[in-house]
């Protein structure tokens, strides 16, 4: 049993009002008697006027209460999600947004969705297949279509919302691919807090949630400086009423900042304050921001971030002498740098990033590579000749690799004609000139020309480009957000241990030369590899993840296709019919019995 508009259950308050009105109203049938003398003398009969007595004796009132309750329940749009007809597969889509952790629906919206999904599974025939999709930052197929109820139940039990704004629309699209055809059914449990449920003929949406007031920490970042660091805390009031939010920031338990923020409805306030952060210190502590506000979503009241900067990568330069690059590596933010001419990948172990400078190699193992003037054969960007004097016409300034990079005055004499099949082109002229590729265990940047074939080393763009590239390749985790997958070079290791912010531990095997694991929650993750231990801080996946106001159920229901699906399962017509029948019976009874009142 579900309710499309649970707020309408407040209409049940009409029942006590009905009782009060019943007690107050005077609708007695007049009857002339020869004398009321004896009625007045029959004092005990006055006890019959007690309201409680009237209530307990009135069948008519009982019928009226039943009719009113049925109507109120009908307004709440109750529906049964289980069905017995049909033969198609079923996909259960659970919104994995952070807002599904809201506790306005006991115990939480997600738990309610989980329970109702179990109910749907329980009503499925044994031969019906079902799939489970979690609408996290990206749609995740937790269980492909299967008739294995045990597997589905286990997946349901382990499913948890992420600290992200779930991609419900993408999840429904994915679900539609899982159950093609007119008989497939998609059941979606969401709060539709950020976008309405798309109207599809075979989609039945269940909108969860009643509360809309929430204030949370949407960002906690540490901006390292020379000897200090600046801490940025961003707080947003997602509700419709102004709030006063006491904010307290601690550093390893000691108070670092405190203030009370007055936030108007929908206002976002950013607080920046300095803390000491000695450079090079491996463990400078954990910052914890906490809001003392009580609302339906307690999960976004705290945020954690590492005060220490991310560890610097170690770099191996493979290739002939390249003085500009070697000079740059001496001053670049790397933990260590080395030069070799050995092209055997076995000799490259122990380095986080390998720079292939104009060397021809075979297929390279998974790892982090900056290829300059060469392309390893196992990268999907095989060069097809060269391009003379290509002009760097466009480049993506928003990409972290090209941040603060200006190719405007850079001239190139000759470059490889790259023909990438995937990845992303960061800068291009007649052909791609800077190309980035990321796949399982492999992260690479290919610069299509050698430094000697251009005047790039003479421009400011050169060191900035190299440093940005090394930071991206080295796994700079400064901007990690929940919902992303963190890949850390295995550096020869085969297993790693990850401790999530909630304390759970997961064992991560090395695949394709890297440890890759998802980041479902915001907070501090601690990763232990054979190379050592490191911690990364992860922020909330989206600054709108704290929106908890459920989408209007009426809007979803007003879309004809969804409405048609809901109508087949809705109980409210039967409740309305029942209420009408009871009201009719009450009327007939009231008009038939002597002394009765309608």
């Amino acid at each position: 049993m579900t309710f499309g508009a649970p707020a309408a259950l407040w209409a049940l308050a009409a029942v006590p009002v009905l009782i009060v009105l019943y007690l107050l109203r005077v609708r007695r049938r007049e009857h002339v008697v020869s004398s009321v003398l004896l009625w007045v003398k029959s004092q005990p009969s006055w006890a019959a006027f007690r309201p409680s007595r009237r209530v307990e004796r009135s069948l008519l009132l009982l019928l009226q209460i039943v009719a009113a309750a049925a109507l109120a329940a009908a307004l709440a749009q109750p529906a049964l999600l289980g069905w017995t007809a049909g033969s198609g597969d079923v996909v259960l889509v659970l919104d994995g947004s952070m807002s599904m952790r809201a506790r306005d629906v006991a115990p939480t919206r997600f738990d309610r969705a989980r329970a109702e999904a179990r109910d749907v599974l329980a009503h499925l025939g044994p031969d019906r297949r079902a799939a489970l999709v979690l609408a996290a930052a990206h749609p995740l197929v937790l269980v492909p279509p299967t008739a294995d109820r045990g597997r589905l139940a286990a997946a349901l039990a382990h499913a948890q919302p992420w600290d992200v704004a779930g991609d419900v629309r993408g999840a429904i699209d994915l679900a539609a691919q899982l159950v093609p055809g007119p008989h497939g059914r998609i059941f979606v449990w969401t709060d539709a807090a950020r976008s309405p449920v798309p109207a599809l003929p075979n989609v039945t949406a269940r909108i969860l949630g009643t509360a809309d007031e929430n204030t949370g920490v949407v960002a906690l970042r540490v901006l390292p400086d020379a000897d200090t660091a600046r801490v940025l805390v961003r707080v947003t009031n997602f509700g419709h009423a102004a709030v006063r939010a006491p904010l307290r920031v601690t550093r390893d338990g000691s108070a670092a900042y405190g203030a009370t923020l007055a936030l108007a409805a929908g206002e976002t306030r950013t607080v920046v304050f300095p803390v000491s952060s000695p450079r090079g210190k491996a463990d400078a502590g954990v910052l914890r921001a906490q809001l003392d506000v009580r609302d339906a979503l307690p999960d976004d009241k705290t945020a954690e971030a590492l005060l220490a900067p991310a560890p610097l990568p170690s770099v191996l330069l493979v290739g002939p002498d390249d003085p500009p690059l070697e000079r740059l590596l001496r001053v670049a933010p790397v933990s260590r740098a080395a030069v070799t001419r050995e092209t055997d990948p076995a000799a490259w172990r122990g380095y986080d990033v390998v720079i292939l400078d104009r060397v021809t190699t075979g297929a390279v193992p998974p790892g982090r590579y900056l290829a300059i003037g060469t392309v390893p054969p196992n990268l999907p960007a095989n060069p097809s000749g060269v391009v003379d004097a290509p002009d760097i016409a466009t480049w993506d300034r928003r990409d972290p690799v090209l941040r603060f990079v200006d190719f405007g005055d850079v001239h190139v004499r000759q470059a490889l004609r790259l023909a990438p099949d995937s990845g992303r082109v960061l800068a291009a002229g007649p052909s791609p000139l800077l190309w980035a590729y990321e796949s399982r265990g492999m992260r690479a940047i290919v610069l299509a020309f050698g430094l000697g074939d251009s005047d790039l080393p003479q421009h400011v763009a050169f060191p900035v480009l190299v440093v940005n590239s090394l930071a991206w390749l080295g796994g700079d985790t400064g901007g990690l957000q929940a919902g992303q997958t963190l890949e850390v070079p295995a550096a020869g290791g085969d297993r790693a241990m990850v401790v999530r912010p909630d304390g759970t531990r997961i064992d991560v095997p090395a695949r394709d030369g890297a440890f890759a694991f998802a980041l479902p929650r915001a907070g501090v993750y601690r990763l232990t590899t054979p190379a050592g231990e490191r911690a990364v801080s992860v922020s909330v996946g989206s600054e709108t993840a704290g929106l908890i106001a459920p989408g209007p159920a009426a809007a979803a229901a007003s879309q004809p296709p969804v409405q048609r699906v809901l109508a087949r399962l809705a109980l409210w017509p039967w409740l309305v019919l029942g209420a009408a029948a009871v009201a009719l019976g009450e009327w007939a009874l009231a008009t038939r019995r002597r002394g009765g009142d309608a």
Binding site: S34, L38, S45, G595
Partner: protein, 352 residues
């Protein structure tokens, strides 16, 4: 209890009472009448006259009394348990001893006594003069007082119809016995009155008067009796026919009749619905007389409470009449008048 009505003492004496008919006759103050009168057979004239006055028609609409019933009434007479003093020669022994024909006593002769009443036989034996005393036969003052308040319209047939039938029957008995009959109605006060009826020939006036009575006004028995008794100091038989549903109470009025030395006979007429209301649900009861409204929720408990109040009220009336030597007869409007007169009023000592 009221719900267990006493059965008639002699079921064969008259028409059996209906199952639900309520009859109670109070004999608390009955005293044996010392006078005796022969009951004369009704003449053909009376029957004809009575037949003309009471045409055969439904009881509620046409003549008050059936001719055959009238004929049977002529064999009855009203019982006065006291010697009363009438104004005219009648068929009832008077308090005044004098020239009547019925020997009563002797006393010593005194100068001035009529020689004709000296008993010479005794004088010859005793050598003393005694005069014979005769009871002077005088008429009886019979006052019929009928409650015509609006509450008397209740019942099927109505209480007022039974009251009129009873008054007609009692009055007719008085007329044929040369009693002086006075009929009056009352509600909140004395109403129209028919005075000084005497003789069979006035039966037409009596019946016509009674047929013209309609229910109106409210009940004030005390006021009505006070004014009635203040108009005449003569004693006699007072028959009050009422439902006694008087919010002012019945006690003062009835006590006043005792203080005036009246022989009072109360015929308490009630409707079936007043004894056992067939009501239920949420009602607003409106008093037919006063217009007073009472809101009640009638269910089994309320009806039980009503029955208790009813029994207490009726028991109170009965005890009151017993204490003050007032004859009391309670009936419902459904009991036929002939049965009441020929059977229960006989048992109650009003007629014989």
């Amino acid at each position: 209890m009221f719900s267990d009505p006493p059965q008639p003492a002699s079921p064969s004496a008259g028409r059996p009472a209906a199952g639900n008919d309520e009859i109670k006759a109070g004999r608390s103050s009955v005293r044996s009448a010392t006078g005796h009168h022969d009951i004369k057979a009704a003449g053909a004239q009376v029957i004809e006259g009575a037949d003309a006055l009471a045409p055969a028609a439904p009881r509620d609409q046409a003549g008050l009394l059936d001719p055959a019933f009238l004929q049977r009434l002529e064999a009855l007479s009203l019982v006065s348990r006291r010697r009363v003093r009438g104004r005219q020669h009648g068929e009832r022994r008077s308090l005044v001893r004098g020239r009547g024909i019925e020997f009563d006593d002797y006393r010593a002769y005194e100068p001035g006594d009529d020689y004709r009443y000296i008993d010479w036989n005794i004088a010859s034996r005793l050598d003393r003069l005694f005069v014979k005393l005769f009871s002077e036969e005088e008429d009886l003052d019979v006052r019929l007082l009928i409650d015509t308040s609006r509450s008397m319209a209740a019942g099927a047939p109505s209480k007022l119809l039974l009251a009129k039938q009873l008054a007609a029957a009692i009055g007719y008995i008085g007329l044929v016995n040369l009693d002086r009959v006075e009929v009056g109605v009352f509600s909140s006060g004395p109403g129209p009155r028919l005075r000084r009826l005497r003789g069979r020939s006035r039966a037409f006036d009596l019946l016509r008067f009674l047929e013209g009575i309609v229910p109106e006004g409210t009940t004030d028995l005390s006021l009505a009796l006070r004014r009635t008794l203040d108009e005449s100091s003569r004693r006699g038989l007072l028959v009050v026919i009422s439902d006694l549903l008087d919010p002012h109470g019945y006690e003062d009025g009835l006590l006043r009749t005792r203080h005036h030395g009246m022989q009072t006979f109360v015929i308490h007429v009630l409707a079936e619905d007043e004894l056992a209301p067939r009501l239920s649900g949420e009602l607003r009861l409106i008093d037919a007389e006063t217009g007073r409204a009472v809101e009640v929720t009638i269910d089994a408990d309320a009806l039980r409470a009503y029955a208790e109040a009813r029994d207490a009220y009726l028991e109170g009336i009965q005890q009151f009449c017993f204490r003050h030597s007032i004859d009391y007869l309670r009936t419902t409007s459904g009991v036929p008048a002939d049965s009441l007169v020929l059977r229960y009023l006989r048992q109650g000592g009003l007629v014989r």
